[in-house]
Symmetry: C2
Protein backbone atom coordinates (compact mmCIF):
# COMPACT_ATOMS: atom_id res chain seq x y z
CA UNK A 1 0.00 0.00 0.00
CA UNK A 2 1.36 3.37 -1.00
CA UNK A 3 1.79 5.92 1.79
CA UNK A 4 2.64 8.94 -0.36
CA UNK A 5 1.66 12.23 1.36
CA UNK A 6 -1.51 13.95 0.22
CA UNK A 7 -0.64 16.55 -2.41
CA UNK A 8 -0.19 19.99 -0.80
CA UNK A 9 -2.91 22.44 -1.80
CA UNK A 10 -1.25 25.20 -3.80
CA UNK A 11 -1.18 28.66 -2.25
CA UNK A 12 -3.07 31.25 -4.30
CA UNK A 13 -2.44 34.39 -2.23
CA UNK A 14 0.23 35.78 0.04
CA UNK A 15 -1.83 38.08 2.31
CA UNK A 16 -0.07 40.70 4.45
CA UNK A 17 -1.33 43.01 7.17
CA UNK A 18 1.49 45.56 7.58
CA UNK A 19 0.65 47.98 10.33
CA UNK A 20 2.36 50.63 12.42
CA UNK A 21 3.82 48.23 14.96
CA UNK A 22 3.53 44.74 13.46
CA UNK A 23 3.78 42.74 10.24
CA UNK A 24 1.57 39.66 9.84
CA UNK A 25 1.34 37.37 6.84
CA UNK A 26 -0.59 34.30 5.70
CA UNK A 27 -0.59 31.89 2.77
CA UNK A 28 -4.14 31.24 1.53
CA UNK A 29 -5.42 28.60 -0.88
CA UNK A 30 -8.05 29.10 -3.57
CA UNK A 31 -10.85 28.75 -0.99
CA UNK A 32 -9.26 31.30 1.35
CA UNK A 33 -8.17 28.68 3.87
CA UNK A 34 -5.07 29.66 5.82
CA UNK A 35 -2.21 27.26 4.99
CA UNK A 36 0.42 28.97 7.11
CA UNK A 37 0.84 32.14 9.17
CA UNK A 38 3.71 34.28 10.47
CA UNK A 39 4.08 37.49 12.49
CA UNK A 40 7.04 39.84 12.99
CA UNK A 41 7.66 42.93 15.12
CA UNK A 42 8.50 44.79 11.92
CA UNK A 43 5.82 47.46 11.79
CA UNK A 44 6.43 50.32 9.36
CA UNK A 45 7.93 52.45 12.14
CA UNK A 46 10.85 50.00 12.33
CA UNK A 47 11.62 50.11 8.58
CA UNK A 48 14.16 52.68 7.31
CA UNK A 49 13.23 54.67 4.16
CA UNK A 50 13.82 52.50 1.10
CA UNK A 51 14.06 49.36 3.24
CA UNK A 52 10.63 47.84 2.67
CA UNK A 53 11.56 45.45 -0.17
CA UNK A 54 14.39 44.09 1.96
CA UNK A 55 12.17 43.52 5.02
CA UNK A 56 9.57 41.91 2.75
CA UNK A 57 12.16 39.55 1.30
CA UNK A 58 13.67 38.66 4.68
CA UNK A 59 10.23 37.94 6.15
CA UNK A 60 8.32 36.35 3.27
CA UNK A 61 10.83 35.82 0.40
CA UNK A 62 10.78 32.02 0.81
CA UNK A 63 7.00 31.96 0.49
CA UNK A 64 7.08 34.37 -2.47
CA UNK A 65 9.41 32.01 -4.36
CA UNK A 66 7.11 28.96 -3.99
CA UNK A 67 5.01 30.01 -6.96
CA UNK A 68 2.15 31.81 -5.20
CA UNK A 69 0.86 34.16 -7.93
CA UNK A 70 0.03 37.33 -5.95
CA UNK A 71 0.73 39.30 -2.77
CA UNK A 72 -1.79 41.80 -1.37
CA UNK A 73 -0.90 44.12 1.52
CA UNK A 74 -3.29 46.10 3.69
CA UNK A 75 -2.57 48.57 6.47
CA UNK A 76 -0.19 51.45 7.07
CA UNK A 77 2.28 50.13 4.47
CA UNK A 78 0.16 52.20 2.07
CA UNK A 79 0.56 55.46 4.01
CA UNK A 80 2.97 58.31 3.26
CA UNK A 81 5.37 56.80 5.80
CA UNK A 82 4.97 53.29 4.33
CA UNK A 83 6.32 51.30 1.38
CA UNK A 84 4.41 53.22 -1.28
CA UNK A 85 1.51 55.59 -0.90
CA UNK A 86 -1.86 54.20 -1.94
CA UNK A 87 -4.12 57.29 -1.81
CA UNK A 88 -7.32 56.95 0.22
CA UNK A 89 -10.33 55.78 -1.79
CA UNK A 90 -13.37 58.06 -1.24
CA UNK A 91 -16.61 56.66 0.26
CA UNK A 92 -18.96 55.18 -0.68
CA UNK A 93 -16.57 52.40 -1.71
CA UNK A 94 -16.89 48.69 -2.42
CA UNK A 95 -14.66 45.80 -3.48
CA UNK A 96 -14.41 47.01 -7.05
CA UNK A 97 -13.28 50.48 -5.95
CA UNK A 98 -10.48 49.06 -3.81
CA UNK A 99 -9.45 46.60 -6.51
CA UNK A 100 -9.36 49.37 -9.10
CA UNK A 101 -7.13 51.60 -6.98
CA UNK A 102 -4.43 49.18 -5.85
CA UNK A 103 -0.92 50.53 -5.69
CA UNK A 104 1.34 48.06 -7.55
CA UNK A 105 4.93 47.93 -6.33
CA UNK A 106 7.71 48.27 -8.91
CA UNK A 107 10.83 46.61 -7.58
CA UNK A 108 13.22 44.37 -9.50
CA UNK A 109 13.94 42.13 -6.52
CA UNK A 110 10.33 41.03 -6.02
CA UNK A 111 9.64 37.42 -6.96
CA UNK A 112 5.87 38.02 -7.40
CA UNK A 113 3.44 40.84 -8.14
CA UNK A 114 2.84 42.87 -4.97
CA UNK A 115 0.01 45.39 -4.52
CA UNK A 116 -1.03 47.62 -1.62
CA UNK A 117 -4.71 48.10 -0.84
CA UNK A 118 -5.76 51.74 -0.42
CA UNK A 119 -7.47 52.95 2.74
CA UNK A 120 -10.81 54.78 2.77
CA UNK A 121 -11.75 58.37 3.45
CA UNK A 122 -15.08 60.09 4.05
CA UNK A 123 -16.43 63.44 5.23
CA UNK A 124 -18.19 63.86 8.58
CA UNK A 125 -21.94 64.20 8.25
CA UNK A 126 -22.31 66.26 11.42
CA UNK A 127 -22.11 69.73 9.93
CA UNK A 128 -24.14 71.56 12.53
CA UNK A 129 -24.07 75.35 12.57
CA UNK A 130 -22.50 75.54 9.12
CA UNK A 131 -19.19 74.07 10.27
CA UNK A 132 -16.82 72.92 7.52
CA UNK A 133 -16.77 69.12 7.11
CA UNK A 134 -14.00 67.16 8.80
CA UNK A 135 -12.49 64.22 6.91
CA UNK A 136 -12.08 60.76 8.43
CA UNK A 137 -9.72 57.96 7.34
CA UNK A 138 -8.99 54.26 7.82
CA UNK A 139 -6.20 51.96 6.60
CA UNK A 140 -6.49 48.22 7.06
CA UNK A 141 -9.96 48.18 8.63
CA UNK A 142 -11.59 48.43 5.16
CA UNK A 143 -10.23 44.96 4.36
CA UNK A 144 -11.60 43.59 7.65
CA UNK A 145 -15.01 45.10 6.86
CA UNK A 146 -15.10 43.50 3.41
CA UNK A 147 -13.97 40.22 4.96
CA UNK A 148 -16.76 40.47 7.51
CA UNK A 149 -19.30 41.23 4.76
CA UNK A 150 -18.23 38.04 2.94
CA UNK A 151 -18.14 36.01 6.12
CA UNK A 152 -21.53 37.08 7.47
CA UNK A 153 -23.30 37.67 4.17
CA UNK A 154 -24.56 40.96 5.60
CA UNK A 155 -24.39 43.70 2.99
CA UNK A 156 -26.19 46.30 5.12
CA UNK A 157 -25.62 47.38 8.70
CA UNK A 158 -23.19 48.87 11.19
CA UNK A 159 -19.75 47.27 11.49
CA UNK A 160 -17.71 48.08 14.62
CA UNK A 161 -13.93 47.57 14.72
CA UNK A 162 -12.60 48.33 18.20
CA UNK A 163 -8.93 49.19 18.65
CA UNK A 164 -6.44 51.98 19.31
CA UNK A 165 -8.59 53.95 16.89
CA UNK A 166 -12.00 52.29 16.78
CA UNK A 167 -14.02 52.51 13.56
CA UNK A 168 -17.81 52.49 13.16
CA UNK A 169 -18.72 51.88 9.52
CA UNK A 170 -22.12 52.03 7.88
CA UNK A 171 -22.37 49.43 5.12
CA UNK A 172 -25.04 49.83 2.44
CA UNK A 173 -25.48 47.38 -0.45
CA UNK A 174 -22.06 45.90 0.26
CA UNK A 175 -20.24 49.25 0.16
CA UNK A 176 -18.89 51.41 2.98
CA UNK A 177 -21.06 54.54 2.84
CA UNK A 178 -19.68 56.42 5.86
CA UNK A 179 -17.58 55.83 8.97
CA UNK A 180 -16.36 57.44 12.19
CA UNK A 181 -13.11 57.05 14.14
CA UNK A 182 -12.93 57.09 17.96
CA UNK A 183 -9.52 57.32 19.67
CA UNK A 184 -10.75 55.00 22.42
CA UNK A 185 -7.80 52.64 22.82
CA UNK A 186 -5.34 55.52 22.66
CA UNK A 187 -7.25 57.54 25.30
CA UNK A 188 -7.26 54.50 27.60
CA UNK A 189 -3.51 54.07 27.17
CA UNK A 190 -2.82 57.78 27.77
CA UNK A 191 -4.99 57.90 30.89
CA UNK A 192 -3.79 54.65 32.42
CA UNK A 193 -0.09 55.21 31.66
CA UNK A 194 0.57 58.95 31.51
CA UNK A 195 -2.11 60.78 33.54
CA UNK A 196 -2.62 61.41 37.25
CA UNK A 197 -4.66 58.17 37.24
CA UNK A 198 -1.56 56.11 36.44
CA UNK A 199 -0.59 56.31 40.12
CA UNK A 200 -3.75 54.48 41.21
CA UNK A 201 -4.22 52.00 38.37
CA UNK A 202 -2.71 48.52 38.32
CA UNK A 203 -2.26 47.97 34.59
CA UNK A 204 -1.67 44.22 34.97
CA UNK A 205 -4.78 43.50 37.06
CA UNK A 206 -7.17 40.89 35.61
CA UNK A 207 -10.36 42.07 33.90
CA UNK A 208 -13.13 42.82 36.41
CA UNK A 209 -16.53 42.57 34.63
CA UNK A 210 -18.51 44.25 37.45
CA UNK A 211 -16.20 47.29 37.59
CA UNK A 212 -16.20 47.51 33.77
CA UNK A 213 -20.00 47.42 33.72
CA UNK A 214 -20.12 50.18 36.33
CA UNK A 215 -17.83 52.31 34.13
CA UNK A 216 -20.06 51.78 31.08
CA UNK A 217 -23.17 52.68 33.11
CA UNK A 218 -21.46 55.79 34.51
CA UNK A 219 -20.51 56.91 30.98
CA UNK A 220 -24.16 56.59 29.93
CA UNK A 221 -25.12 59.18 32.55
CA UNK A 222 -23.66 61.77 30.17
CA UNK A 223 -21.40 63.74 32.53
CA UNK A 224 -18.59 63.20 30.03
CA UNK A 225 -15.21 61.50 30.15
CA UNK A 226 -13.35 64.66 31.29
CA UNK A 227 -15.36 64.47 34.53
CA UNK A 228 -15.90 60.73 34.89
CA UNK A 229 -12.21 59.86 34.47
CA UNK A 230 -11.43 61.88 37.62
CA UNK A 231 -13.77 59.56 39.52
CA UNK A 232 -11.24 56.74 38.99
CA UNK A 233 -8.90 58.79 41.18
CA UNK A 234 -11.41 59.68 43.89
CA UNK A 235 -12.88 56.15 44.15
CA UNK A 236 -9.31 55.04 44.85
CA UNK A 237 -8.60 57.95 47.22
CA UNK A 238 -11.59 57.10 49.44
CA UNK A 239 -11.07 53.34 49.02
CA UNK A 240 -14.52 52.86 47.49
CA UNK A 241 -13.09 50.64 44.75
CA UNK A 242 -10.30 48.09 45.12
CA UNK A 243 -7.08 48.95 43.28
CA UNK A 244 -7.22 45.91 40.94
CA UNK A 245 -10.72 46.96 39.73
CA UNK A 246 -9.74 50.50 38.66
CA UNK A 247 -8.28 49.62 35.24
CA UNK A 248 -11.49 47.78 34.29
CA UNK A 249 -13.61 50.68 35.58
CA UNK A 250 -11.62 53.17 33.47
CA UNK A 251 -11.86 50.85 30.45
CA UNK A 252 -15.65 50.82 30.93
CA UNK A 253 -15.72 54.62 31.16
CA UNK A 254 -13.78 55.08 27.91
CA UNK A 255 -15.55 52.39 25.87
CA UNK A 256 -18.85 53.56 27.37
CA UNK A 257 -18.10 57.10 26.18
CA UNK A 258 -17.65 55.79 22.62
CA UNK A 259 -21.03 54.06 22.81
CA UNK A 260 -22.74 57.08 24.36
CA UNK A 261 -21.58 59.26 21.47
CA UNK A 262 -23.19 56.83 19.00
CA UNK A 263 -26.68 57.12 20.57
CA UNK A 264 -27.48 53.44 19.97
CA UNK A 265 -31.11 52.42 19.73
CA UNK A 266 -32.12 49.40 21.84
CA UNK A 267 -32.19 46.32 19.62
CA UNK A 268 -29.59 47.76 17.21
CA UNK A 269 -27.79 44.96 15.34
CA UNK A 270 -24.04 45.26 14.91
CA UNK A 271 -21.19 43.25 13.44
CA UNK A 272 -18.18 43.39 15.76
CA UNK A 273 -14.70 42.60 14.38
CA UNK A 274 -11.58 42.51 16.54
CA UNK A 275 -9.23 40.70 18.88
CA UNK A 276 -10.84 38.35 21.41
CA UNK A 277 -10.03 40.72 24.31
CA UNK A 278 -11.71 43.71 22.69
CA UNK A 279 -14.62 41.66 21.32
CA UNK A 280 -15.27 40.48 24.90
CA UNK A 281 -15.29 44.02 26.32
CA UNK A 282 -17.31 45.59 23.51
CA UNK A 283 -19.84 42.73 23.54
CA UNK A 284 -20.29 43.33 27.25
CA UNK A 285 -20.70 47.09 26.83
CA UNK A 286 -22.93 46.84 23.75
CA UNK A 287 -25.23 44.38 25.53
CA UNK A 288 -25.63 46.96 28.32
CA UNK A 289 -26.87 49.34 25.61
CA UNK A 290 -29.33 46.73 24.37
CA UNK A 291 -27.52 46.05 21.09
CA UNK A 292 -27.37 42.63 19.42
CA UNK A 293 -23.96 41.51 18.19
CA UNK A 294 -22.46 39.15 15.66
CA UNK A 295 -18.73 38.84 16.47
CA UNK A 296 -15.73 37.98 14.27
CA UNK A 297 -12.02 37.65 15.03
CA UNK A 298 -8.84 38.65 13.23
CA UNK A 299 -9.57 36.11 10.44
CA UNK A 300 -11.60 38.88 8.81
CA UNK A 301 -8.38 40.39 7.42
CA UNK A 302 -7.45 37.22 5.53
CA UNK A 303 -11.05 36.76 4.36
CA UNK A 304 -11.07 40.33 3.07
CA UNK A 305 -7.79 40.07 1.17
CA UNK A 306 -8.88 36.71 -0.27
CA UNK A 307 -12.18 38.20 -1.46
CA UNK A 308 -10.38 41.18 -2.93
CA UNK A 309 -7.93 38.96 -4.83
CA UNK A 310 -10.87 37.43 -6.68
CA UNK A 311 -11.73 40.88 -8.03
CA UNK A 312 -8.30 41.44 -9.50
CA UNK A 313 -7.08 40.59 -12.94
CA UNK A 314 -3.55 40.91 -11.70
CA UNK A 315 -1.88 39.65 -14.86
CA UNK A 316 -2.72 43.00 -16.42
CA UNK A 317 -0.51 44.71 -13.90
CA UNK A 318 2.68 42.67 -13.88
Amino acid sequence: MNTAPAPARPAQLLALDWGTSSLRGALLDAQGTVLDERAFARGILTVPPGGFAEVFDASFGDWARTGVPLCLISGMAGSKQGWAEAPYCPCPAGFADLAGQLRWIEHSSLAIPVAIVPGLRCESELQADGLPPVPDVMRGEEVQIFGAIRHTGRTNGIFVLPGTHSKWAEVQDGRVRQFQTFMTGEFFALLSQHSLLARSILADAPFDPAAFEQGVARARSGAGLLHNAFGTRTLSLFERMAAPALASYLSGLVIGEELRARHLQPGAELVLVGSSTLVQRYSHALSQHGARIQALGAEATWAGLHALAQHIDHHDHT
Copy 2:
Protein backbone atom coordinates in the same frame (compact mmCIF):
# COMPACT_ATOMS: atom_id res chain seq x y z
CA MET B 1 10.32 120.08 56.62
CA ASN B 2 10.63 116.49 57.72
CA THR B 3 11.04 113.93 54.97
CA ALA B 4 10.83 110.80 57.09
CA PRO B 5 9.54 107.80 55.10
CA ALA B 6 5.88 106.87 55.53
CA PRO B 7 5.61 104.16 58.19
CA ALA B 8 5.51 100.71 56.57
CA ARG B 9 2.12 99.06 56.92
CA PRO B 10 2.56 96.01 59.13
CA ALA B 11 1.96 92.61 57.52
CA GLN B 12 -0.94 90.72 59.09
CA LEU B 13 -0.81 87.47 57.13
CA LEU B 14 1.75 85.31 55.38
CA ALA B 15 -0.39 83.63 52.69
CA LEU B 16 0.95 80.56 50.89
CA ASP B 17 -0.36 78.62 47.90
CA TRP B 18 1.67 75.38 47.99
CA GLY B 19 0.72 73.20 45.05
CA THR B 20 2.00 70.14 43.26
CA SER B 21 4.56 71.95 41.14
CA SER B 22 4.96 75.43 42.63
CA LEU B 23 5.11 77.36 45.89
CA ARG B 24 3.84 80.95 45.94
CA GLY B 25 3.66 83.29 48.89
CA ALA B 26 2.50 86.83 49.71
CA LEU B 27 2.60 89.21 52.65
CA LEU B 28 -0.78 90.87 53.19
CA ASP B 29 -1.72 93.82 55.37
CA ALA B 30 -4.87 94.16 57.47
CA GLN B 31 -6.90 95.19 54.41
CA GLY B 32 -5.66 92.23 52.36
CA THR B 33 -3.41 94.37 50.17
CA VAL B 34 -0.38 92.51 48.84
CA LEU B 35 2.80 94.05 50.29
CA ASP B 36 5.23 91.62 48.68
CA GLU B 37 5.13 88.38 46.66
CA ARG B 38 7.48 85.48 45.88
CA ALA B 39 7.31 82.24 43.88
CA PHE B 40 9.55 79.15 43.91
CA ALA B 41 9.66 75.94 41.84
CA ARG B 42 9.32 74.02 45.10
CA GLY B 43 6.01 72.21 44.63
CA ILE B 44 5.31 69.36 47.06
CA LEU B 45 6.67 66.83 44.56
CA THR B 46 10.15 68.36 45.01
CA VAL B 47 10.11 68.16 48.83
CA PRO B 48 11.53 65.03 50.49
CA PRO B 49 9.49 63.45 53.33
CA GLY B 50 10.04 65.45 56.51
CA GLY B 51 11.57 68.33 54.55
CA PHE B 52 8.66 70.77 54.49
CA ALA B 53 9.66 72.88 57.52
CA GLU B 54 13.11 73.32 56.02
CA VAL B 55 11.78 74.41 52.61
CA PHE B 56 9.34 76.76 54.36
CA ASP B 57 12.13 78.33 56.35
CA ALA B 58 14.48 78.65 53.37
CA SER B 59 11.73 80.27 51.27
CA PHE B 60 9.81 82.42 53.78
CA GLY B 61 11.76 82.30 57.08
CA ASP B 62 12.88 85.94 56.79
CA TRP B 63 9.27 87.08 56.35
CA ALA B 64 8.10 84.82 59.20
CA ARG B 65 10.57 86.49 61.57
CA THR B 66 9.34 90.04 60.85
CA GLY B 67 6.49 89.72 63.33
CA VAL B 68 3.64 88.75 60.99
CA PRO B 69 1.24 86.95 63.36
CA LEU B 70 -0.04 84.06 61.18
CA CYS B 71 0.70 81.89 58.13
CA LEU B 72 -2.11 80.16 56.21
CA ILE B 73 -1.35 77.61 53.49
CA SER B 74 -3.74 76.31 50.84
CA GLY B 75 -3.23 73.65 48.19
CA MET B 76 -1.67 70.20 47.97
CA ALA B 77 0.52 70.87 51.05
CA GLY B 78 -2.51 69.53 52.93
CA SER B 79 -2.68 66.22 51.01
CA LYS B 80 -1.36 62.85 52.16
CA GLN B 81 1.81 63.56 50.16
CA GLY B 82 2.12 67.08 51.60
CA TRP B 83 3.38 68.69 54.82
CA ALA B 84 0.54 67.46 57.02
CA GLU B 85 -2.79 65.98 56.00
CA ALA B 86 -5.77 68.30 56.41
CA PRO B 87 -8.72 65.96 55.76
CA TYR B 88 -11.25 67.13 53.15
CA CYS B 89 -14.13 69.14 54.58
CA PRO B 90 -17.52 67.79 53.37
CA CYS B 91 -19.88 70.02 51.33
CA PRO B 92 -21.86 72.11 51.84
CA ALA B 93 -19.04 74.12 53.37
CA GLY B 94 -18.43 77.80 54.10
CA PHE B 95 -15.73 80.00 55.65
CA ALA B 96 -16.54 78.86 59.17
CA ASP B 97 -16.23 75.18 58.23
CA LEU B 98 -12.78 75.70 56.71
CA ALA B 99 -11.67 77.87 59.64
CA GLY B 100 -12.84 75.23 62.09
CA GLN B 101 -10.97 72.42 60.40
CA LEU B 102 -7.53 73.97 59.89
CA ARG B 103 -4.58 71.67 60.37
CA TRP B 104 -2.12 73.46 62.69
CA ILE B 105 1.52 72.52 62.20
CA GLU B 106 3.55 71.52 65.27
CA HIS B 107 7.19 72.18 64.60
CA SER B 108 9.71 73.71 67.00
CA SER B 109 11.61 75.59 64.30
CA LEU B 110 8.60 77.65 63.14
CA ALA B 111 8.78 81.32 64.02
CA ILE B 112 4.97 81.82 63.70
CA PRO B 113 1.75 79.81 63.89
CA VAL B 114 1.23 77.94 60.61
CA ALA B 115 -2.03 76.30 59.56
CA ILE B 116 -3.06 74.38 56.45
CA VAL B 117 -6.52 74.93 54.96
CA PRO B 118 -8.44 71.69 54.24
CA GLY B 119 -9.77 70.92 50.77
CA LEU B 120 -13.41 70.12 50.03
CA ARG B 121 -15.18 66.91 49.09
CA CYS B 122 -18.66 66.18 47.80
CA GLU B 123 -20.63 63.32 46.28
CA SER B 124 -21.74 63.31 42.63
CA GLU B 125 -25.42 64.04 42.22
CA LEU B 126 -25.73 62.09 38.97
CA GLN B 127 -26.81 58.74 40.36
CA ALA B 128 -28.70 57.47 37.36
CA ASP B 129 -29.69 53.81 37.23
CA GLY B 130 -28.95 53.29 40.91
CA LEU B 131 -25.20 53.75 40.50
CA PRO B 132 -23.21 54.27 43.70
CA PRO B 133 -22.18 57.91 44.21
CA VAL B 134 -18.67 58.97 43.15
CA PRO B 135 -16.82 61.43 45.39
CA ASP B 136 -15.16 64.58 44.09
CA VAL B 137 -12.38 66.63 45.69
CA MET B 138 -10.55 69.96 45.47
CA ARG B 139 -7.53 71.43 47.26
CA GLY B 140 -6.67 75.09 46.86
CA GLU B 141 -9.61 76.05 44.65
CA GLU B 142 -11.88 76.36 47.72
CA VAL B 143 -9.79 79.32 48.87
CA GLN B 144 -10.06 80.92 45.41
CA ILE B 145 -13.83 80.47 45.48
CA PHE B 146 -14.16 82.11 48.89
CA GLY B 147 -11.86 84.89 47.69
CA ALA B 148 -14.06 85.36 44.62
CA ILE B 149 -17.21 85.42 46.81
CA ARG B 150 -15.66 88.23 48.88
CA HIS B 151 -14.39 90.07 45.85
CA THR B 152 -17.62 89.97 43.83
CA GLY B 153 -20.08 89.99 46.69
CA ARG B 154 -21.91 87.14 44.95
CA THR B 155 -23.03 84.54 47.46
CA ASN B 156 -25.03 82.50 44.95
CA GLY B 157 -24.08 81.18 41.52
CA ILE B 158 -21.72 79.01 39.52
CA PHE B 159 -17.99 79.59 39.95
CA VAL B 160 -15.69 78.15 37.25
CA LEU B 161 -11.97 77.57 37.94
CA PRO B 162 -10.25 76.38 34.75
CA GLY B 163 -6.95 74.51 35.02
CA THR B 164 -5.26 71.13 34.79
CA HIS B 165 -8.32 69.89 36.67
CA SER B 166 -11.07 72.46 36.16
CA LYS B 167 -13.66 72.90 38.90
CA TRP B 168 -17.30 73.98 38.55
CA ALA B 169 -18.70 74.91 41.96
CA GLU B 170 -22.26 75.77 42.89
CA VAL B 171 -22.32 78.42 45.63
CA GLN B 172 -25.46 78.85 47.72
CA ASP B 173 -25.74 81.42 50.51
CA GLY B 174 -21.97 81.85 50.54
CA ARG B 175 -21.22 78.14 50.92
CA VAL B 176 -20.02 75.61 48.34
CA ARG B 177 -22.95 73.22 47.97
CA GLN B 178 -21.59 70.95 45.23
CA PHE B 179 -18.85 70.83 42.60
CA GLN B 180 -17.51 68.85 39.64
CA THR B 181 -13.96 68.27 38.38
CA PHE B 182 -13.05 68.08 34.69
CA MET B 183 -9.57 66.86 33.67
CA THR B 184 -9.54 69.34 30.81
CA GLY B 185 -6.03 70.77 31.07
CA GLU B 186 -4.55 67.32 31.61
CA PHE B 187 -6.39 65.84 28.59
CA PHE B 188 -5.10 68.70 26.43
CA ALA B 189 -1.53 68.08 27.60
CA LEU B 190 -1.81 64.31 27.05
CA LEU B 191 -3.26 64.71 23.57
CA SER B 192 -0.93 67.46 22.40
CA GLN B 193 2.24 65.91 23.85
CA HIS B 194 1.79 62.13 24.02
CA SER B 195 -0.83 61.06 21.46
CA LEU B 196 -0.75 60.51 17.70
CA LEU B 197 -1.78 64.17 17.41
CA ALA B 198 1.56 65.31 18.86
CA ARG B 199 3.15 64.74 15.43
CA SER B 200 0.90 67.35 13.81
CA ILE B 201 0.59 69.94 16.56
CA LEU B 202 2.97 72.86 17.00
CA ALA B 203 2.82 73.38 20.76
CA ASP B 204 4.50 76.80 20.61
CA ALA B 205 2.20 78.29 17.97
CA PRO B 206 0.38 81.50 19.00
CA PHE B 207 -3.30 81.31 20.01
CA ASP B 208 -5.61 81.29 16.97
CA PRO B 209 -9.07 82.54 18.05
CA ALA B 210 -10.85 81.39 14.86
CA ALA B 211 -9.51 77.82 15.10
CA PHE B 212 -10.32 77.73 18.82
CA GLU B 213 -13.88 78.88 18.11
CA GLN B 214 -14.25 76.20 15.45
CA GLY B 215 -13.14 73.57 18.01
CA VAL B 216 -15.68 74.79 20.57
CA ALA B 217 -18.44 74.73 17.94
CA ARG B 218 -17.44 71.23 16.82
CA ALA B 219 -17.55 70.00 20.43
CA ARG B 220 -21.11 71.35 20.75
CA SER B 221 -22.21 69.06 17.91
CA GLY B 222 -22.04 66.24 20.47
CA ALA B 223 -19.99 63.65 18.54
CA GLY B 224 -17.70 63.46 21.57
CA LEU B 225 -14.02 64.13 22.15
CA LEU B 226 -12.93 60.55 21.31
CA HIS B 227 -14.12 61.20 17.75
CA ASN B 228 -13.52 64.93 17.41
CA ALA B 229 -9.89 64.74 18.56
CA PHE B 230 -9.08 62.49 15.58
CA GLY B 231 -10.26 65.32 13.32
CA THR B 232 -7.22 67.32 14.42
CA ARG B 233 -5.14 64.65 12.69
CA THR B 234 -7.22 64.43 9.49
CA LEU B 235 -7.57 68.20 9.07
CA SER B 236 -3.77 68.27 9.11
CA LEU B 237 -3.43 65.20 6.84
CA PHE B 238 -5.56 66.79 4.10
CA GLU B 239 -4.12 70.25 4.73
CA ARG B 240 -7.51 71.74 5.56
CA MET B 241 -6.10 73.54 8.60
CA ALA B 242 -2.68 75.19 8.85
CA ALA B 243 -0.27 73.53 11.28
CA PRO B 244 -0.01 76.57 13.62
CA ALA B 245 -3.83 76.55 14.08
CA LEU B 246 -4.12 72.92 15.21
CA ALA B 247 -3.19 73.45 18.88
CA SER B 248 -5.87 76.13 19.23
CA TYR B 249 -8.42 73.91 17.48
CA LEU B 250 -7.66 71.03 19.86
CA SER B 251 -7.84 73.41 22.83
CA GLY B 252 -11.29 74.48 21.62
CA LEU B 253 -12.38 70.85 21.27
CA VAL B 254 -11.32 69.95 24.82
CA ILE B 255 -12.64 73.10 26.55
CA GLY B 256 -15.77 72.85 24.40
CA GLU B 257 -16.29 69.28 25.59
CA GLU B 258 -16.19 70.50 29.21
CA LEU B 259 -18.84 73.10 28.41
CA ARG B 260 -21.00 70.64 26.47
CA ALA B 261 -21.10 68.31 29.46
CA ARG B 262 -22.41 71.14 31.66
CA HIS B 263 -25.47 71.81 29.43
CA LEU B 264 -25.31 75.58 29.94
CA GLN B 265 -28.48 77.59 29.49
CA PRO B 266 -28.17 80.70 27.31
CA GLY B 267 -27.82 83.73 29.56
CA ALA B 268 -26.24 81.71 32.39
CA GLU B 269 -24.15 83.93 34.67
CA LEU B 270 -20.80 82.61 35.81
CA VAL B 271 -17.85 83.77 37.87
CA LEU B 272 -14.60 82.74 36.20
CA VAL B 273 -11.37 82.55 38.25
CA GLY B 274 -8.00 81.71 36.75
CA SER B 275 -4.83 82.74 34.97
CA SER B 276 -5.18 85.35 32.26
CA THR B 277 -4.50 82.77 29.50
CA LEU B 278 -7.24 80.44 30.68
CA VAL B 279 -9.66 83.24 31.50
CA GLN B 280 -9.24 84.46 27.91
CA ARG B 281 -9.97 81.03 26.41
CA TYR B 282 -12.86 80.17 28.71
CA SER B 283 -14.43 83.61 28.26
CA HIS B 284 -14.29 83.08 24.53
CA ALA B 285 -15.82 79.58 24.74
CA LEU B 286 -18.44 80.52 27.33
CA SER B 287 -19.56 83.48 25.20
CA GLN B 288 -20.12 81.05 22.32
CA HIS B 289 -22.47 79.18 24.66
CA GLY B 290 -24.31 82.41 25.46
CA ALA B 291 -23.05 82.64 29.05
CA ARG B 292 -22.29 85.92 30.81
CA ILE B 293 -19.03 86.09 32.71
CA GLN B 294 -17.45 88.01 35.55
CA ALA B 295 -13.71 87.22 35.51
CA LEU B 296 -11.08 87.28 38.28
CA GLY B 297 -7.36 86.52 38.29
CA ALA B 298 -5.00 84.73 40.64
CA GLU B 299 -5.50 87.46 43.28
CA ALA B 300 -8.51 85.42 44.40
CA THR B 301 -6.19 83.10 46.36
CA TRP B 302 -4.80 85.95 48.47
CA ALA B 303 -8.27 87.43 48.93
CA GLY B 304 -9.55 84.02 50.10
CA LEU B 305 -6.76 83.43 52.59
CA HIS B 306 -7.13 86.99 53.87
CA ALA B 307 -10.88 86.52 54.37
CA LEU B 308 -10.29 83.20 56.08
CA ALA B 309 -7.73 84.70 58.47
CA GLN B 310 -10.42 87.04 59.73
CA HIS B 311 -12.47 84.01 60.81
CA ILE B 312 -9.68 82.55 62.90
CA ASP B 313 -8.98 83.13 66.53
CA HIS B 314 -5.52 81.74 65.99
CA HIS B 315 -4.21 82.58 69.44
CA ASP B 316 -6.28 79.66 70.72
CA HIS B 317 -4.19 77.30 68.65
CA THR B 318 -0.64 78.37 69.27
